[in-house]
């Protein structure tokens, strides 16, 4: 890290510099790389790898928000994303004749609203439980919704779901064009990331973290613990819904398989592999997940194995990460930095 960065850590967070100066150099580098990626990367990387990473990252982010700040591990986030995605397909235009074909400015707010209502109601059911019971109840709701969409033909079009769900051609841009979609998903991901960072430092976010650490004391201080948790579910639904709507546009389709149990667990894997402590974790987890999903068959091919064992690579990859760093990839980075800092501190102390 740069000198300025060290200085910042030495002087502590209460110094008098503008917020712009306080952003570490590494962040600038990431921003530049992400903004100028379309110059070097081909369509596949922009649309498929990075677009999918941002989408999964946002859905993972909503889980990270609940689990990291609220202490509630919810397997519901993919379902919330799915509700928003399904709403876009049902209310807006699609290839299936069940769709209503409303205009986008009705569809998108309605999708967010319905997903938020769904998340709030499910959250209200789940918040009175703890630990493994939260996981169980959210998994139950996710499974119920999955089977419901698969068997309901009048609204959800059953097993085959919806095809040809395309984003509106706003401002004359085809938002499924790889570069347009890349910037769209990047912007959404940045906004969601910023929102989570901001909320985590707001009074609500601090209260939520208090509720996570000691609900009884927070209740004694006059905070309504249940209301805070339910509100966290409602807030998290916004990030999941953004991801869900983009996911439908990226695939141009949604079907029960998109929101199945394995997809719900994939979101958990993404968040855990990246790290549940910081909002950056899910995005890193998502990148690893996407790279493994896309290239595992090729990696096997490189070593002369048959491609039908591609799940092996994915499994081994995740196993290795969780084994060596139970807190996810970000914790590896933290540990490495702590070691470097300790060495530096030792050097400065050693010098006269």
């Amino acid at each position: 890290m740069s000198v300025a960065d060290n200085l910042q850590r030495l002087t502590g967070p209460y110094e008098q510099r503008s917020w712009l100066q306080r952003i570490p150099a590494a962040w600038w580098a990431v921003a530049v790389i992400l903004l100028f990626m379309p110059v070097v990367a081909n369509d596949f990387w922009l649309f498929q790898v990075m677009g999918w990473t941002f989408i999964l990252g946002m859905i993972g982010l909503s889980l990270m928000f609940l689990a990291g700040y609220g202490g509630m591990v919810s397997l519901l986030q993919m379902t919330v994303a799915g509700v928003a995605g399904y709403m876009v397909a049902i209310l807006g235009p699609s290839g299936a004749n069940v769709s209503l074909g409303l205009a986008w400015w009705v569809v998108i707010p309605a999708a967010f609203l319905i997903a938020a209502i769904f998340a709030t109601i499910s959250g209200a059911l789940a918040v009175r439980t703890d630990g493994i019971y939260t996981i169980m109840i959210t998994l139950a709701i996710a499974a119920a919704f999955f089977y419901f969409t698969r068997q309901n033909y009048s609204i959800f079009n059953g097993y085959s779901g919806f095809n040809l769900v395309l984003p509106p051609k706003l401002f004359g841009v085809n938002w499924r064009d790889p570069m347009a979609f890349y910037y769209l998903s990047l912007a959404c991901a940045t906004l969601c990331y910023g929102a989570v960072v901001y909320i985590s430092r707001s009074p609500f976010g601090l209260a939520l973290q208090g509720v996570r650490d000691n609900p009884r004391r927070m209740a004694a201080l006059g905070f309504n613990v249940t209301a805070h948790r339910v509100a966290a579910y409602a807030l998290a639904s916004i990030f999941a819904s953004t991801g869900g709507i983009l996911l439908v546009w990226q695939n141009a389709q949604i079907a029960p398989g998109t929101i199945g149990i394995s997809a719900a667990i994939d979101v958990l894997v993404v968040a855990v592999v990246g790290g549940l402590r910081r909002p950056l974790g899910p995005f890193i987890g998502a990148l690893i997940y996407v790279l493994l999903q896309v290239f595992s068959a090729d990696i096997l091919g490189l070593f002369g194995f048959s491609a039908d064992r591609f799940k092996l690579i994915i499994g081994i990859g995740f196993l290795a990460i969780v084994l060596f760093s139970p807190d996810g990839v970000l914790a590896l980075w933290d540990r490495w930095r702590a070691r470097v800092d300790a060495r530096k501190a030792a050097e400065t102390r050693g010098a006269p």
């Binding site: 081909n42 369509d43 949604i254």
Partner: protein
């Protein structure tokens, strides 16, 4: 984070030259889009095997050009399929995609194919009717019959030969179940049969008790449009309930996976007529030599006893692609225009008889009716009892008549109306 970035950059570096190198003029790249995870994984592996076998026959060379393959594994979910297809086109830069394997994947690929007009997609076994019937893609070809075609001929056989004129039906509650049932029902009702009750069972739901209790007693037979473990579960519960009504099977009801399953359940199937795209005991020399080629190409432990439905589903498109490539001398220039034209007018002599394509690029071919009998080795097997040649996409009707019936769904075939007209 720097580490992750480094990792990502390294991966990019690894991936880029691979795709760049392959773009030389003297290779043709074929992407095999196939389910290698989930319920159809065994069939998918057989599909890959069959593509490799067909290519080995020509030594991986057509008109002086080398053929390379890339396998893209799916899990039968349409979104995974489209992701993998996009990877094949954009990252691996393949010229031709062979696949996908299952129905809803096929519909997703029809829509994806429209976004890559310069490439060709040749279906590999998926049988949804809508794929080549509703708004078909001009570069999507299907050399296998669809699910409704597979059901054709069976109805006529059970009415005319067996004399079963009143049936109840139980079928899987999803698109293939509807489609396969539709083909049977159209033919059956036209031949003078009547369907008195229809039951729909969600895929993978193992309890058939409710349906078995409700089955009417005064029917000649029961049509079963189930497959895999659902079929075995049904047969077990059916026998335990002491039911003995005769059965009629859908295309995946009496296939090798059910007939070679352990337990006594399958014995209920003895004498059950079914229909499908091939008959394993066919004496047609083309079929016999195909089975021999299959059995000689792989050691017994690395293959199925005989080629499966999906194996055949991937073999046929591969030989079609080879034949068309030979005809145009491997010329894929100008958006593959010549190759597409050659595919359109191909007359393919396949192991299951002559196949031609119609204006929707959907195959017209032969449907076999078989009956389950005791095999020589103690197992049960299928015996061919009838076949219908030249079954086309509209099952012998005009497109308007066929369109008037509607798309496959629970109650699309109105039996009384069908019998009258």
């Amino acid at each position: 984070m720097r580490k992750t970035l480094l990792g990502a950059v390294a991966l990019v570096a690894l991936a880029l030259p691979g795709s760049a190198l392959a773009q030389s003029n003297n290779t043709i790249k074929i992407g095999i889009l196939v389910a290698l995870e989930g319920a159809f994984a065994t069939g998918g592996q057989d599909g890959v095997r069959n593509v490799e076998m067909a290519l080995k026959q020509i030594n991986h060379t057509v008109a002086g050009k080398k053929i390379e393959t890339v396998v893209a594994p799916t899990d039968t979910k349409p979104d995974t399929t489209v992701r993998q297809a996009r990877k094949l086109i954009e990252q691996d830069k393949v010229d031709i995609i062979i696949g996908p394997l299952s129905g809803s994947e096929g519909i997703a690929m029809r829509d994806f194919a429209k976004t890559i007009p310069d490439k060709v997609v040749i279906n590999g076994g998926s049988g949804a009717l809508e794929t080549t019937w509703v708004d078909p893609a001009p570069n999507f070809y299907r050399f296998n019959l669809d699910g409704a075609q597979w059901g054709y001929g069976l109805g006529n056989y059970v009415v005319k030969t067996k004399g079963w004129k009143k049936v109840a039906t139980i079928a899987a509650d999803y698109s293939f179940g509807y489609t396969n049932f539709m083909g049977f029902a159209i033919d059956y009702c036209k031949s003078g049969g009547d369907i008195v009750q229809r039951f729909w069972q969600p895929l993978g739901q193992s309890d058939f008790g409710g349906i078995i209790a409700q089955l009417p007693n005064d029917v000649d037979a029961i049509y079963l449009g189930l497959g895999g473990t659902d079929a075995i579960n049904f047969l077990n519960q059916y026998q335990q309930a002491g039911e003995k009504t005769r059965l009629i099977g859908g295309t995946i009801m009496a296939d090798q996976t059910v007939l070679t399953a352990r337990g006594r359940a399958k014995e209920a199937l003895k004498g059950t007529p079914t229909s499908g795209p091939f008959a394993s005991d066919s004496t047609d020399p083309a079929w016999v030599s195909y089975v021999k080629l299959y059995q000689d190409s792989f050691p017994a432990a690395q293959r199925l006893p005989s080629p499966s439905l999906f194996g055949l589903g991937y073999y046929v498109p591969t030989i079609a692609a080879i034949k068309a490539l030979e005809e145009v001398g491997g010329d894929l220039s100008n958006g593959q225009a010549k190759f597409k034209a050659a595919l359109n007018k191909i007359q393919l002599d396949s192991p299951v008889g002559k196949l031609t394509l119609n204006e929707n690029r959907q195959a017209t071919g032969t449907v076999f009716v078989t009956e389950v009998v005791d095999g020589s080795d103690g197992n049960m097997t299928n015996k061919m009892v009838a076949k219908t040649e030249n079954v086309n996409q509209t099952l012998g009707m005009t497109p308007e008549q066929y369109r008037a019936i509607g798309l496959p769904s629970r109650d699309v075939v109105d039996c009384a109306k069908m019998r009258g007209g």
